[in-house]
């Protein structure tokens, strides 16, 4: 459970930082204001939707941290047999990176109000994300063709479970991306569009990060890395 505890420590760090800006040491019982004279206070200047997405991403991060924790705990048992990583995953990783880059371009373009670039970026991001999903399904098919079935070994089970869960989050993101893309073509208000594009980009970068982390986990590098750290510490 150490992975999830480290994750929660990071969240606690954020929460602590935020709380430290909430004047926790004030004595509210002494405060009273005359009419029209109210205490100004820090509220994030970020749009509410971005904060909402940020909180949601913390929940998603928590979910994958828990899967990782479970992965490490189950891995320690004797019947674990690592499965080979299909080479295709590298191509898929490339696709997801491209998708993220395309959305970043779209987001920059939206700030400059270059609508054509926004549309291009959104379409490219959507297509590469779909290519990623198709690639993941093909990787699954290759593995099953080679006899690595879901239930035959816990390493396989975790591989399908975690990649599947990540894929579902991409599918959910595609719904949002689809709505944004439709808006870009149907002439949504530029400010609104910019926010939507930025939200999509944020979500995509996060899922790319999650993918890189779980790729490292499933390929076994994460375990090696942790072993090295452990040796350095002891």
């Amino acid at each position: 459970m150490s992975v999830i505890l480290v994750f929660l420590l990071v969240i606690a760090g954020f929460a602590g930082w935020w709380l430290s800006h909430q004047r926790l040491m004030t004595k509210p019982w002494l405060e009273q204001g005359a009419a029209g004279d109210f205490v100004p206070f820090d509220r994030s200047g970020l749009p509410t939707a971005k904060i909402g997405l940020g909180v949601f991403l913390a929940v998603v991060g928590c979910l994958f941290a828990l899967f990782t924790s479970a992965y490490f705990m189950r891995m320690a048992l004797s019947d674990w047999q690592p499965l080979p990583m299909p080479r295709l995953l590298w191509l898929n990783t490339g696709m997801l990176v491209l998708s993220s880059v395309a959305l970043q371009c779209a987001s920059v373009a939206a700030r400059k109000r270059q609508m054509d670039t926004v549309r291009l970026g959104l379409a490219a991001a959507g297509l590469t994300a779909i290519a990623f999903l198709v690639g993941q399904l093909m990787a699954w098919r290759d593995l099953t063709a080679d006899g690595y079935f879901l239930a035959s070994n816990p390493a396989n089970s975790f591989f399908y479970l975690i990649t599947g869960m990540h894929g579902l989050h991409i599918v959910g993101g595609l719904v949002g991306l689809g709505r944004t893309t439709a808006g870009a073509w149907n002439g949504a208000r530029p400010e609104r569009l910019r926010l939507s594009v930025e939200l999509c980009a944020m979500y995509w970068h996060f899922l790319l990060f999650v993918w890189l982390a779980i790729f490292a986990l499933l390929a076994g590098w994460a375990a090696t890395f942790i072993d090295i750290c452990r040796q350095l510490l002891t």
């Binding site: 926790l24 479970a70 816990p154």
Partner: protein, 589 residues
């Protein structure tokens, strides 16, 4: 959305008509409503309805325990199904949904001075997914083989094996699917509660001026958002074990001479995941109760809350600590003694902020102008009950005491006191307190006092003897305990007594429900602020608050939520939105 500068982040006092969602038909106004107040009532109604099912299940259990062998229709299998569904419904579908979905939705926007939740559409979805989760849960009663009988903790391997009711039938699958849906729905609602508190507070409402109710619900929601994923992970993995034959949790099992396809899985892994959710869940239910009870006590004792800052810090501290105590539910799972030592230590440390809260409640009452209204009665009953349940928690938090008491009725008595009866008492108090705001009418006083005394005394008469039965060594989860040496004759009599009390207390709840319905029409007119309270929900122009909560202009907050009996003030309460300086030694902010 225009370029947002920090100045824009403070909402303008007047909100243009078009910014607020307006329902166009009866359906969008009362059924598929995006108004947090309607959603709150939908959540509360659904939670109460499913809670009644759980109440009936507890009666059936008590029939069996109190009068074993008398009722043929309660087979051991049926008994297991009753305990499982009773526990799951009460903890998740009733308490969590009612505190966060019900009170959270109703009170957060009103108390922070917002027109609605920040994402009303997502908020509506949250309720409908919750309803779907409840329906899936109910459907398991009608599925072949009936609902799961795995115990509310759903421990594998037994949860998905043939011997357990529903284990190889539909019961466990429907249970897991229902929980997964609940978590998805809750996450949608939870995002709203958190972001509304972060972003939609009205002008002047700093975090340190929030009523403690909002602090409690806010912190509990943050915890729930981080804890429910653990249950989600556990449910998904168990669903795969059950449906597709994986071995996340399932060890190699020989069942009726037949080797199952599972191999090498770890039931302990499930326990870790389950309790990583399960322990924070106790505080997810308790923190809103702590917050609400602080407001009830302060309002009905006409005195400011003692140690507001400490109360806030304690809420946050309890929330953080509750994530590092989960394995105290697993002392008997064969863990390393040093782990047991660690978790016993963290468990006992939690007692410190909790004790601070209890002292502060008592010190708020000290020399207050105590009005023994029904909300106040429930609030004081809560303090007593919570202390009682908390003290047995100190027993069970220590490994050496827990090991012999583990899986006895003592544990059942402990957690019913501390996270069953205590939060339910707060829920009742809160309903008596806020019902006038929701409906514009008071609940009937006589029926209310009857309800209080029967519930409070009855709950003690049920759960206090249960501690003794547990100390005698009577285990929990047994459908029948006849002809066993630990069950002496007196223990049998005690069990029958407990059962009779359970029926009486249950009957009082029916009276309460009748009161809720009857008073909508026939209750005394309440007016806008019957308790003369300071917080913003009592200052709305209409009662019940109209769509958009505060009329044309949002309130501005000039003070904290607890200005009661301020010397020099004309009345004994000063609403949060009243400007001006009162009292001798206070400087303007």
């Amino acid at each position: 959305m225009v370029d947002v500068t920090p100045a824009d982040a403070v909402p303008p006092a007047e909100v243009a008509e078009m910014e607020l969602y307006h329902p166009h038909s009866w359906w969008t106004k009362y059924v598929f409503s995006q108004d947090a107040k309607v959603i709150a009532i939908q959540y509360s109604g659904t939670a109460t309805a499913i809670g009644l099912v759980a109440l009936v299940l507890s009666w059936l259990m008590r029939l069996q325990l109190g009068f074993p062998g008398t009722f043929d229709f309660i087979t051991p299998e049926a008994y297991y199904q009753f305990i499982t569904m009773h526990g799951m419904i009460m903890v998740i579908y009733l308490l969590t949904a009612l505190f966060l979905g019900g009170f959270g939705n109703y009170l957060i926007p009103l108390m922070v001075g917002a027109r609605d939740m920040v994402f009303p559409y997502v908020n509506m979805l949250s309720y409908w997914i919750y309803l779907l989760a409840v329906l899936v849960l109910v459907s398991s009663f009608f599925a072949p083989g009936g609902p799961t009988g795995a115990g509310w903790t759903l421990y594998p391997p037994q949860a998905i094996m043939t011997g357990t009711p529903g284990g190889q039938e539909w019961g466990i699958i429907l249970m897991l699917v229902s929980l997964i849906l609940f978590i998805i729905g809750f996450t949608m609602g939870g995002l709203n509660y958190v972001v509304t508190v972060l972003q939609a507070r009205t002008r002047g409402m700093t975090m340190m001026r929030l009523p403690l109710t909002v602090w409690g619900i806010f912190t509990a929601t943050v915890m729930a958002l981080l804890a429910f994923p653990a249950l989600f992970v556990a449910c998904v993995m168990m669903l795969l074990d059950r449906a597709l034959g994986t071995s996340f949790f399932m060890p190699a099992v020989v069942e009726m001479g037949e080797q199952l396809q599972h191999n090498g899985g770890s039931p302990i892994l499930f326990q870790h995941l389950f309790w990583f959710f399960g322990h924070p869940e106790v505080y997810i239910v308790a923190l809103p109760a702590f917050g609400i009870v602080s407001d009830l006590i302060s309002t009905h004792a006409r005195k400011n809350i003692f140690g507001y800052r400490m109360m806030v810090w304690a809420i946050v501290g309890i929330g953080a600590l509750s994530f590092v105590v989960w394995a105290h539910h697993m002392y008997v799972s064969g863990m390393h003694p040093y782990f047991g030592f660690f978790f016993a230590t963290t468990t006992l440390i939690i007692a410190i902020p909790t004790a601070i809260k209890v002292y502060n409640w008592v010190l708020t009452l000290w020399r207050g102008d105590i009005h023994l209204t029904i909300p106040m009665l429930f609030a004081m009953a809560f303090i007593v009950t919570f202390v009682n349940g908390g003290l047995t928690g100190l027993f069970l938090g220590n490994v050496v005491v827990d090991v012999p008491l583990s899986d006895t009725m003592f544990v059942v008595a402990h957690f019913h006191m501390v996270m069953g009866v205590a939060p339910i008492l707060v829920i009742f108090g809160a309903i008596y307190h806020w019902y006038p705001k929701v409906t514009g009418r008071m609940l009937n006083e006589t029926l209310g006092r009857f309800h209080f005394w029967v519930t409070f005394l009855g709950a003690y008469l049920i759960f206090f003897p249960m501690h003794y039965i547990g100390l005698m060594g009577v285990p929990r989860r047994y459908a029948e305990m006849t002809d066993v040496t630990v069950m002496t004759e007196s223990a049998h009599h005690l069990n029958s007594f407990i059962s009779i009390m359970a029926f009486i207390v249950g009957f009082a709840q029916i009276v309460f429900l009748f009161n809720l319905i009857w008073s909508i029409r026939h209750g005394r007119e309440a007016g806008g602020n019957p308790w003369r309270a300071t917080t913003l929900e009592w200052q709305t122009p209409q009662t019940p608050p109209a769509h958009g909560n505060f009329g044309k202009e949002l309130p501005i907050v000039y003070r904290w939520a607890y200005d009661y009996s301020v010397p020099g003030a004309k009345e004994d309460f000063i609403p949060q939105n009243m400007p001006g300086t009162f009292g001798p030694s206070r400087e303007p902010a």
